[in-house]
């Protein structure tokens, strides 16, 4: 229907963005009626997302002609930004940014490096940056979920944790059940994506490859490859972040620093 009113691609794109944003706003209003106030966060996130992706799209036009080594800088910048975004989900957690950035750098970074070295990801900037960014973005989401869940679990179980400490448990062991639960919960979206691939959803990358004339079977296999890499990088990121963060919630004298009212 929008195509009847908008003839240039740019106008059509903006109109489609406006309609999609409207759908999101309706959800925000419905949530507001139930006393769930997400409006500020969602509006800022949508505005930021739109501006950022248009900016990146414009920059990509230039970068696509840049030498291959610039991919490394772009991906490194994305990792830092992902670390900062993810750390916000762990409000009150000591060293949340550093833990997130290191976890994403090692988790996503090592999988990207290995896959590029093995030739699974093409070294061309047009391939490495988009595929790498998908892995970093998913690692960021997984890390945010893991940190957020760990924080909530620790705050909800201060009594149990301090009882274990008082009985002589090692600090890191006293939070082991919550580390495990956070790791498992953070991987639910990645596992569900793999499980429902092709049945519930046909991912954008595969759709794009089909539109650009790739053979459907190769497009399908490559989509699986990307999702498997996303799972590997997300899983490794979550594993690293939960391992790192569990030591950060204790003082050197093994006292629990994360306490209700202190965070």
């Amino acid at each position: 229907m929008l195509r009847l009113f908008f003839h240039s691609q740019l106008q059509l794109g903006l109109a489609q963005a406006a309609v999609a944003a409207l759908a999101a706003l309706i959800v925000v209003l419905l949530a507001r009626r139930r006393q769930i106030h997400l409006e500020g966060e969602i509006l800022i996130a949508m505005a930021r997302g739109l501006v950022q992706i248009i900016a990146v799209g414009s920059i990509l036009v230039i970068l696509l002609r840049a030498p291959r080594w610039t991919s490394g800088f772009l991906l490194a910048a994305m990792i830092v930004a992902a670390g900062a975004t993810s750390a916000r989900r762990a409000k009150g957690m000591p060293d949340a940014f550093r833990v997130s950035a290191w976890a994403i750098a090692f988790g996503a970074g090592s999988v990207i490096a290995l896959m590029t070295f093995l030739g699974v990801i093409d070294t061309a900037i047009t391939s490495l940056v988009p595929v790498g960014s998908m892995m970093i973005a998913n690692a960021m989401n997984t890390n945010g979920l893991a940190m957020n869940r760990f924080r909530s679990d620790v705050l909800a179980h201060v009594g149990e944790i301090e009882t274990a400490l008082a009985l002589g448990a090692e600090a890191r062991n006293s939070v082991s059940p919550y580390v495990q639960a956070s790791f498992e919960a953070s991987l639910i979206p990645a596992i569900d994506s793999l499980r429902s691939l092709g049945i519930v959803w046909i991912p954008g990358l595969m759709a794009g490859m089909l539109l650009s004339g790739a053979r459907p079977v190769y497009a399908a296999i490559y989509q699986f490859v990307v999702l498997a890499m996303i799972f590997a990088s997300s899983g490794l990121t979550s594993l690293i972040s939960t391992m790192l963060i569990r030591g950060k919630v204790f003082s050197p004298a093994e006292q629990l620093l994360l306490q209700p009212g202190r965070s």
């Binding site: 009882t163 274990a164 008082a166 009985l167 002589g168 448990a169 004298a253 093994e254 006292q255």
Partner: protein
């Protein structure tokens, strides 16, 4: 009791000594300049109104919180020089709510020894449970225990670590009257039988009189009175 106390203070070694112990968080004084000694076999009650710093003081003794001033000496050693896990095993703490771990009563009793790679023998489990009046409870699931039973398991679990000092943080305040008496009598029995050195935090003055030989009264984080329980609480 006063005579026993005097004898104790005269002959028994000092197990625990707090020196200028204090904790201030974000400008709020929780405990200020606490100075006291605890002799072997002595039961000390810490009493005071809600918010006076009783639990904060007990947490400092167990080093669950870090003092911002002063320190505690355990058998003459500054506790900052003792490995925290070893310190907490030696100064066993029973919290207001029992916080039992999922599993059986025996699993809970084994928890402390397992942390240092030891296995608690079955007969020790039976003995500990008998001491708190829960003979035959070893294989019961903790989910099916009453509040009083759970608190007695919590006491037995702490005793399984063979602590030097038992720290009790309002152990009966979350219980109904019948359960409160059960738990209190279990504590009294254990403390007497084992001649345990004990610090009990309570807001119940009658309970402090029944359990302790000496008392500290806290107000706004400061010790305002200290001495033999009858003199301090019934002056």
């Amino acid at each position: 009791m006063a005579n026993i106390m005097t004898a104790l203070e005269g002959s028994s070694p000092v197990i625990l000594r707090a020196e200028h112990l204090g904790r201030t968080v974000n400008g709020k004084i929780l405990v200020q300049d606490a100075n006291f000694e605890l002799h072997k076999g002595e039961v000390l009650a810490i009493v005071g109104p809600s918010g006076s710093g009783k639990t904060s003081l007990l947490r400092l003794l167990n080093r669950l919180d870090e003092p911002t001033s002063g320190t505690v000496f355990v058998e003459g050693t500054d506790y900052r020089g003792i490995e925290p896990r070893d310190l907490r095993r030696r100064l066993g703490m029973v919290t207001q709510r029992p916080f039992l771990f999922p599993g059986t009563v025996a699993d809970n009793l084994r928890f402390g020894p397992v942390q240092r790679g030891e296995v608690l023998p079955e007969d020790s489990i039976a003995d500990l449970l008998a001491q708190v009046g829960l003979k035959g409870y070893a294989e019961r699931n903790v989910a099916n225990l009453s509040g009083g039973e759970a608190q007695r398991v919590s006491v037995a679990r702490t005793l399984a670590n063979s602590p030097l000092v038992l720290l009790l943080d309002e152990p009966t305040s979350a219980l109904d009257e019948a359960a409160k008496l059960e738990v209190e009598s279990s504590i009294q029995k254990v403390v007497c039988e084992k001649s345990l050195t004990c610090v009990v935090v309570t807001h119940d003055l009658a309970q402090a009189t029944r359990l302790a030989s000496r008392a500290l009264v806290l107000e706004a984080g400061r010790i305002v009175r200290a001495g033999l329980v009858n003199e301090v609480l019934h002056a």
